[in-house]
């Protein structure tokens, strides 16, 4: 990769040079795409993005390309890298502890393995940032980290992971009932210390797994309101039915992955949440779900009536904002990280191919048989 970058530097004036390149060494790069999706809903025709040292420095239709900067022409779409809001990739057995119900100080950033094959697999689907969360099974699973795929952790305290529903129960340790878990969480949040106090102050958002039944979700929402918690609801397929209540509680949502059996509720949820203007993104839950599920879920929602632009926001800028890293990733904006995906067509069409992926300005993935690539 680095030799390619050096080679490119010497070819700097050739506009149609091969595209495998890196900007992290300090060399600026520019990409012109037929359609550039900024992330806030606007699309720039023949938009140019210039980036240097991993950061976007210029964006626009006629953004000036500094002299000596390689301009890559992309016959397709460009968007910010996708963001998965609840992920377990690469954490293997380190994302939960079945023996303890409450692990308030557990720090998921220690479980992150950037070079794990599960993490690398996310890149092929255009996912450049994800929230590494504990697997369900604990009442309090610890602090979720926001990681750049194959790169570094950019937030160690994105959320405190809490299960108020049945997902937090196991049959062989306390608590074993919903009432028991409610009582335990009530106690922790009513006389809060440590991370609980930070959460109650609204300084640490929570990732609230409310469980799957309507009753459980109602309990979760009521719990968040009672303790003034900020954050997102996850783990349910019935969140759409509760859109008004979620909005009133000021919470966001990470929608579960689409599957033929639960799909309808996820789709209805997305449409209802968009209508109520509740901010939402998508959870992925790999490795138990395939990374392609993230975009498939969005596409299923589009098929069900969600606007394509709304879906892309949920996959990028809204997700970044919900994870508290909207000032770092999620949009093609000056000052944000050069995390980008070059698509063959609409980013939200699963029929579009991921042609290349950039993280911090480095090309970290390129489609095998891409004719413009230099892999062959």
């Amino acid at each position: 990769m680095h030799t390619n970058a050096l080679l490119l530097a010497s070819l700097a004036f050739v506009a149609s040079a091969p595209t495998s390149a890196s900007s992290s060494e300090g060399d600026a790069l520019a990409i012109r795409a037929e359609k550039l999706h900024v992330g806030d809903g606007t699309v720039i025709e023949n938009g140019i993005v210039v980036f240097e040292a991993g950061v976007i420095t210029e964006v626009g239709k006629g953004a000036p390309v500094p002299k000596g900067v390689v301009l890559i022409e992309h016959a397709g779409h460009l968007s910010a890298g996708l963001i998965a809001l609840r992920e377990h990739a690469g954490a293997v057995g380190e994302s939960n502890d079945s023996t303890r119900a409450v692990m308030d100080e557990a720090d998921l950033s220690y479980a992150y393995r950037p070079n794990h094959s599960e993490v690398q697999g996310l890149l092929a689907e255009g996912i450049t940032t994800f929230v590494l969360a504990p697997r369900p099974g604990s009442l309090v699973g610890g602090l979720c980290a926001v990681a750049k795929t194959g790169s570094e952790v950019i937030s160690r305290r994105a959320y405190l992971s809490i299960c108020t529903g049945a997902n937090g129960l196991t049959s062989n340790r306390f608590p074993t009932s919903l009432q028991g878990s409610q009582a335990e969480l009530e106690r922790r949040f009513s006389w809060p210390r440590g991370v609980f106090a930070t959460a109650v102050k609204g300084e640490l958002p929570v990732m609230l797994d409310g469980g799957s039944s309507r009753t459980e979700v109602q309990h979760a929402i009521a719990f968040a309101r009672r303790h003034g918690l900020k954050g997102i609801l996850v783990g349910s397929t019935r969140l759409g039915e509760m859109a008004a209540k979620i909005r009133a509680a000021g919470l966001g949502v990470a929608l579960s992955s689409y599957s033929p059996s639960t799909g309808r509720r996820v789709v209805e949820g997305a449409v209802a949440l968009a209508e109520m203007q509740v901010p939402f993104g998508f959870a992925l839950g790999s490795p138990n779900n395939h990374p392609a599920n993230l975009r498939l879920t969005a596409a299923a929602c589009i098929r069900g009536g969600l606007k394509s632009g709304e879906a892309l926001k949920a996959l990028t800028s809204t997700a970044a904002r919900l994870a508290g890293v909207g000032d770092k990733v999620g949009s093609i904006q000056v000052g944000l990280a050069a995390d980008m995906v070059l698509w063959s067509g609409e980013p939200t069409d699963p029929g579009s191919r991921v042609m290349a992926v950039y993280v911090d300005g480095d090309e970290v993935f390129r489609a095998e048989d891409d004719e413009n690539g230099d892999d062959k």
Binding site: P260, S286, H290, A292, R295, R303, P350, G351
Partner: protein, 400 residues
């Protein structure tokens, strides 16, 4: 009746306008319309008929969902994970008043499953290769069966002819023979002797051919060996596919169809050369997947198509309504858009001998078609109208 851009619309016909019209999608590997217990039955044999497991009373919601997604027909199978799946059928997804009107084709194929995990456990490697040999043996038995029965049919024909001739001759000789016999009886009486009937000697030539052993399973495999029925083999691993291709090379008329084919890329050359279609399941699978799917890759459909293999796309029973959406995933992982559309329409019809009925918009075909507001297989495209057998079942004002 007519297809084209310059037609005379018959008087009284309803004109539906849309941007794009295409044939209804077909799921070549589905279960919609089948009784759930029939689908998961592990005790099926080569002769089990899918039509016996058809359930016209499934929740109409499932049908509507499939129709709304543009899926108008599904090839179904009893015992989808069984070693022998029996005789498959093609069903319409349209609501039907009775069982018979659901069935578009009652014997679309024979089926077998090789190396499939059962209760989360894969059969061991020797059992898997043994199962391939057993299937080859069954096809062989089928071929022998058809040879023996064809011989019997020929012999019966000759016998029937000989009997007819003998009867005609007897008819002619009957009067004379009766007269002679009466005379002989009278003479015997005169001589006070007992009349001895001439013993009837069976003409060896007129001996009725013996009916060969009848076997319903062999009878199905005979239709497979002769190429009358395609044989859908659900198989995933390269080693088993190689063994199957090697073992079946001698059956020149056999029409193999591979379902699944996770590692089919390893035998793509042979599949292309023998024109064996592969029904790919373009579903994203997570880490907890059956052993045979461990190498599952969404790029499979595209790679096989690039190698010249005929590709079909099937849901594997997981939900035919999602097949068009899943097909877009195959496109996003390298399958040509036109080939993906063919994989849901013309290729399915061709594989299961339905080309005269379904899969394309030509005069004389059954009017199973979709009216779309954009290119097929895009998430932003809405299926506006769905016609099945000429009936408008989905329209923009229909409730779902």
């Amino acid at each position: 009746m007519q297809v084209g851009s310059d037609l005379t619309i018959p008087e009284g016909a309803r004109l539906i306008e849309g941007d794009v019209v295409c044939a209804g999608f077909m799921d070549p590997w589905g279960s919609l319309g089948m009784n759930a217990a029939a689908v998961v039955d592990m005790g099926t044999n080569a002769a089990t008929r899918a039509t016996d497991g058809v359930d016209p009373y499934i929740d109409p919601w499932y049908r509507n969902r499939a129709l709304a997604a543009g899926v108008t027909a599904v090839r179904v199978q009893a015992g989808m994970a069984s070693v022998r799946g029996g005789v498959g059928a093609v069903l319409s997804t349209a609501p039907a008043a009775d069982l018979e009107s659901m069935i578009l084709l009652r014997d679309s194929n024979a089926a077998a499953g090789l190396g499939l995990s059962s209760r989360g456990k894969a059969p061991d490697v020797f059992a898997r290769i043994g199962a391939v040999d057993k299937l080859v043996g069954d096809i062989n038995s089928g071929r022998d069966y058809s040879i023996v029965h064809a011989k019997y049919a020929r012999e019966m024909e000759a016998w029937n002819k000989a009997i007819a001739e003998a009867e005609a001759k007897l008819e002619k000789d009957f009067k004379k023979a009766k007269k002679d016999r009466d005379k002989e009886i009278a003479e015997a009486k005169e001589d006070d002797k007992e009349f001895k009937e001439e013993k009837y000697k069976e003409d060896k030539l007129l001996k009725r051919p013996k009916l060969p052993k009848q076997d319903v399973e062999d009878a199905v495999m005979a239709r497979v060996a002769s190429g009358e029925l395609p044989l859908v083999v659900t198989i995933h691993r390269a080693a088993e596919m190689r063994e199957l291709l090697k073992g079946t090379a001698k059956f020149k008329r056999l029409r193999l169809v591979i379902a699944g084919g996770t590692e089919a890329e390893a035998v793509a050359d042979q599949l292309a050369a023998r024109s064996i279609p592969v029904i790919v399941r373009p579903i994203p699978l997570g880490a907890n997947r059956p052993d045979e799917y461990s190498g599952h890759d969404l790029a499979l459909a595209g790679r096989l198509a690039d190698a010249g293999v005929r590709v079909l796309l099937g849901s594997s029973g997981g939900g035919s309504a999602d097949l068009p959406l899943l097909a877009t995933l195959a496109i996003g992982h390298g399958l040509d858009r036109d080939k993906a559309l063919a994989a849901l329409t013309t290729e399915v019809a061709r594989t299961f001998d339905l080309s005269g009925e379904l899969g394309s918009l030509r005069p004389g075909r059954r009017a199973d078609l979709l009216v779309l507001d954009g290119e097929p297989l895009l998430p932003t495209t809405t299926v506006r109208y769905v016609l099945s057998g000429g009936r408008v079942l989905i329209s923009p004002d229909s409730q779902d």
